[in-house]
Symmetry: C2
Subunit: 220 residues, 2 copies
DNA sequence: CGGTCTATTGAACGCTGTCAATCATGGTGG
DNA sequence: CCACCATGATTGACAGCGTTCAATAGACCG
């Protein structure tokens, strides 16, 4: 996945992939409290990660798709700190973290790659904090859709339509909203002709209008 | 700062500290968009980090005190992604990241330490997402106070009183609340005899009550 | 074809935001 | 040294957004 490696280095990189693991829809890749051993590179499928408070409240902390890495929450305490659930049948590469560390001491490009992945996650969470702390319901949903579309487009899929892999409740948990509020925002966008919604299928009719909702000031 | 190093390794670790830098209250350690070169270890003082949206909304993403590391947001894109502002006169150790990477290839304990620091930040942001997505105003403030107290106590300060280094507005930005709401929550706690507040000075009279507000279910 | 899960929609409520006035604090300069 | 001013904090009244509760409809799956 990372670029900037020569043929020899690529061969070495195969060492970090211990094996592959299949996770069926609804099953856990890892659970909060599990001993941390490995990072996981998603080959196919779609995951959510979430944290649970002692009194049972759940917060979805992210949705991850093919090509993304999960499990970095476990490094600090040698235990996973969140749950990772497959939202559709998935396959991941298991990368024992001890091997990743050993090899990244030999390959500066891999070392740099690992650092960037973790930094990217920190920056992503920063923007989720902005979303949760400052945005209104419709802005949150617009931001969410635009982010999903951009990531799917980077994987060769359409920029103008998508099939959601998660429920309204999971979207709501991620966005700090109740499922009814998410549903209402979808309906509002639909009434305004910005999107077409049919359950999990979403078609973007007016991407500019979505961007305007997400970031009003940019469009004076 | 890290443990698990022998004398020889400690000597090598000095290499990563290029120099020290003083930052006066109100001044920036780094700005969003600045070229990323170094991580900073806070020796003394108190910082806030915040991100700004294109339309000018500001979200405080964290408060950092002595012994903590800031700047990891810059690794992914070689540019800083947030602002770091000193809330009181501060001194930091400048640690050029290239040097950190070089040395952590030789010292596995340093490598592990760097990974843990970044993972800890990811986990911290996960709990802020829980706070912003699921908690009510008073729960947020209770969580905030308990977190500050715990970190100050780990540095040898009192568990039962503290002087806030930030304004109500900055607390509100961090907690996803308006400053008036923060102020009201302080007053409410005060009326209930849980804390004593006088501007930035806060004394905890009933820590158990605070914990109960933070996490109601634990106390059936 | 029934049963369960998910999504939509309506109505009423309540928490937090908004707007505004007042007070406290700390720094500055006359 | 004190008056002054700018900044920060508190408090009140009211409005609005999102939640809550509820009913209904739709989709999926055995």
């Amino acid at each position: 996945m990372p670029v900037g490696f020569n043929v020899d280095e690529m061969k070495r990189l195969d060492e970090v992939v211990e094996k592959r693991r299949r996770v069926k829809q609804g099953e856990l890749l890892f659970n909060s409290g599990d001993t941390f051993t490995s990072l996981y590179a998603i080959r196919t499928g779609f995951f959510k990660t979430c944290v649970t408070s002692e009194d049972g409240r759940e917060q979805v902390t992210g949705f991850q798709m093919a090509g993304e890495i999960i499990g970095m929450d476990g490094i600090v305490s040698d235990r996973h700190n969140c749950n990772a659930v497959a939202l559709e049948d998935a396959e991941v590469c298991v990368m024992p973290f001890a091997t990743v560390e050993d090899l990244s001491r030999e390959l500066p490009a891999l070392q740099r790659h690992v650092h960037k992945i973790m930094s990217r996650e920190i920056v992503r969470e920063n923007s989720v904090m902005m979303l949760l702390g400052n945005m209104r319901a419709e802005e949150r949903l617009a931001a969410f859709l635009l982010n999903l579309l951009q990531r799917l487009h980077a994987r060769g899929l359409s920029q103008s339509e998508l099939v959601l892999r998660m429920t309204r409740e999971e979207i709501g948990s991620y966005l700090g909203l109740k499922l009814e509020t998410v549903s209402r925002a979808f309906s509002k966008f639909s009434e305004e002709g910005i999107i077409e919604v049919k359950q999990r299928y979403v078609k973007i009719l007016a991407p500019e209008a979505l961007k305007k909702i997400f970031n009003p000031q940019t469009y004076f």
